[in-house]
Amino acid sequence: MIPTNGRPTEEEFIARARRFLREIGGEKADSVDVDANLIESGILDSLAIIAYVAFVEEQRGSELEMGPEELALIMTIRSAYQLVRIAPSPNAA
């Protein structure tokens, strides 16, 4: 995949997300499926999910407005990438 506006590709995002999740969730994050729900699989708890939201914001380069759709997307690594991919351009007016 081709990087856009300095944002990571899906592969890069998944690799960074795994590194991030390993930091806050331990070794079990290494083996978590990219389509697995991060709370149900025990990687994140209610405290850590906000840290993960902050990580996704950092990757997309802008703050997130967490509506119901975003709430659903943030729960797996692969779907969270949608929030990064469709982020408004940092250069947009």
Binding site: F20, E23, I24, G25, G26, E27, D45, S46, L47, A48, I49, I50, A51, V53, A54, F55, E63, L64, M66, G67, P68, L71
Partner: protein, 499 residues
């Protein structure tokens, strides 16, 4: 009036038909209690306690739950001149047993699934413990499962004085007392109880028990605040972050409530985002269980937004002591020391911890503060071996003592770690007996069973070498942080490492 029960009674006399409680949280949505109903229910529960032979002046262990009968139950205990030992239902087995073993309650009362009173046979309480419990309303543990338990007796006198000062601070900030105090936190301990229910009592306000705030409920937060006309709210910084990320904008149909945070460090990033997103000033309060509740109430800037400073203390004197051990005036960093009439009288049944915590009449908070040229103070970090996880103080030695009892563990060390969003947590280094069957992936589960989820390490790492210790064989906290960084690839907290 210096007795919480007397204050509730006076409210029931003055406005018996006005609402004291409104429930908007499952499973009690739609239920309300007037001040008069609180008194009536507490009188009924008093009879139940008497019928169960609860001794007058006894200690009563209470598992806190968000239940409309919780305040009446506390009132019933106080009517019998008893003291409530507060327990969190999320505690693990070992923590609960240790707290009850140390406090030696005369009865255990639970409201769920229904009211049950279990009497417990205890040895005669020592004269010193009796003295400590005089005028007691609540007994609150900040660390319970170690050989060094830290429990604070919150007396009626200190608590009511503190909460009247808190109510007065809000009037100073806002110009008028609140009518309704919103509670979006779980009733887990004395903090949540006093920051909402007792604060509301001192203000004569109604408590609105709102849905527990989390990512999935945050969207409607401001709509509910406005719908239920809440004009005072308190949220710990992690919950402010939840609002920052997930709450829909305010409707702005009503004047915003006074918004207060505290109980753990607030980052400027979190406070700035709150201001920017919701255009409401966020006050950064500061207090400890040892000071009964909040003792500093933040301050507004010239634009009505909250400063990062915690403001000036109410009812307490405050001073800073620098790294050289000298009390100083003016600009600089130092440990906060507090003294005054609402400061606790010492840890219950733990004279050694009391001696270590005080310099004369001054309590050593273990918090590192910075004072700027204008005399404003902000929190910087901590000197004690404590992390603030969520809004809870977790003592590292409590985790280590529990881990060291597990089969196969030679030694362990809990290490503070900084989460990427600025939050705090801790990891655990463990060394096993060589050739044993113990497994590192079983440690977290075992600790969760013993101490509860809050005291479960975020990450457990096995090490082969002995843990670094000082000349007195104490764990070297500075060296442990470096070791954690080396073996985890993750930065441990480095604040206060010079101290």
């Amino acid at each position: 009036m210096m007795n919480l029960l007397a204050i509730y009674e006076s409210m029931a006399d003055e406005k018996p038909d006005e609402l004291a409680l409104i429930y908007r949280r499952e499973p009690y949505v739609g239920e309300t209690r007037t001040w008069g109903q609180l008194r009536e229910r507490s009188e009924f529960l008093t009879k139940r306690l008497i019928a169960a032979n609860f001794p007058e002046g006894g200690l009563c262990a209470v598992v806190l739950t968000d239940n409309p009968d919780m305040l009446p139950l506390l009132m019933a205990i106080w009517r019998l001149r008893g003291v409530a030992v507060l327990a969190d239902k999320m505690w693990g087995d070992r923590l609960r047993e240790s707290v009850f073993s140390h406090s030696q309650p005369n009865a255990f009362v639970s409201l769920e699934p229904e009211l049950t009173v279990t009497l417990m046979v205890q040895p005669e309480r020592s004269a010193d413990r009796k003295r400590q419990l005089e005028d007691g309303a609540l007994l609150s543990y900040t660390s319970g499962s170690t050989g060094d338990p830290k429990a604070i007796v919150m007396t009626h006198g200190r608590l009511s004085t503190t909460m009247y000062a808190a109510a007065a601070a809000v009037v100073r900030h806002r110009g008028a007392p609140p009518q309704r105090v919103g509670c979006s936190m779980r009733l887990s301990g004395s903090g949540a109880l006093n920051l909402h229910y007792t604060w509301a009592l001192a203000s004569g306000a109604t408590v609105v028990v709102m849905p527990q705030l989390e990512l999935s409920t945050a969207r409607n937060y401001w709509r509910e605040i406005e719908e239920y006309e809440v004009d005072q709210m308190f949220l710990v910084p992690p919950l402010i972050d939840v609002l920052n990320h997930a709450a829909a904008p305010r409707l702005r149909l009503r004047k915003p409530p006074i918004c207060i945070t505290g109980s753990s460090p607030l980052s400027t990033k979190t406070q700035d985002r709150f201001h920017r997103k919701f255009s409401v000033g966020l006050l950064n309060a500061f207090g400890l269980t040892e000071t009964m509740c909040a003792a500093f109430f933040g301050e507004y800037d010239e634009n009505g937004m909250g400063r990062h400073s915690i403001g000036q203390p109410a009812l307490l004197k405050a001073r800073l002591r620098n790294l050289e051990g000298e009390v100083f005036d003016g600009q600089g960093d130092g440990e906060l020391e507090l003294s005054g009439p609402v400061m606790f009288g010492g840890y219950f049944g733990n004279e050694a911890a009391t001696q270590a915590a005080f310099r004369g009449s001054w309590f050593r908070t273990g918090d590192l503060l910075r004072r700027d040229e204008a005399g404003r103070m902000t929190t910087v970090g901590r000197i004690k071996d404590v992390v603030m996880k969520g809004s809870f103080a977790i003592y590292l030695n409590e985790i280590e003592e529990a881990a060291n009892t597990l089969d196969g563990v030679v030694e362990s060390a809990a290490v503070p770690i900084q989460l990427p969003d600025g939050g705090e947590d801790f990891g655990l280094l463990v060394r096993f007996h060589p050739g044993g069957a113990a497994r590192v992936d079983e440690i977290a589960g075992a600790l969760k069973q013993m101490l509860g989820g809050l005291r479960t390490p975020r990450r457990v790492i096995e090490i082969a070498q002995p843990l670094p210790r000082t000349g007195q064989e104490k764990l070297s906290r500075v060296a442990l942080r470096a070791l954690w960084q080396e073996v985890s690839g993750q930065a441990a907290m480095d604040w206060a490492t010079q101290l």
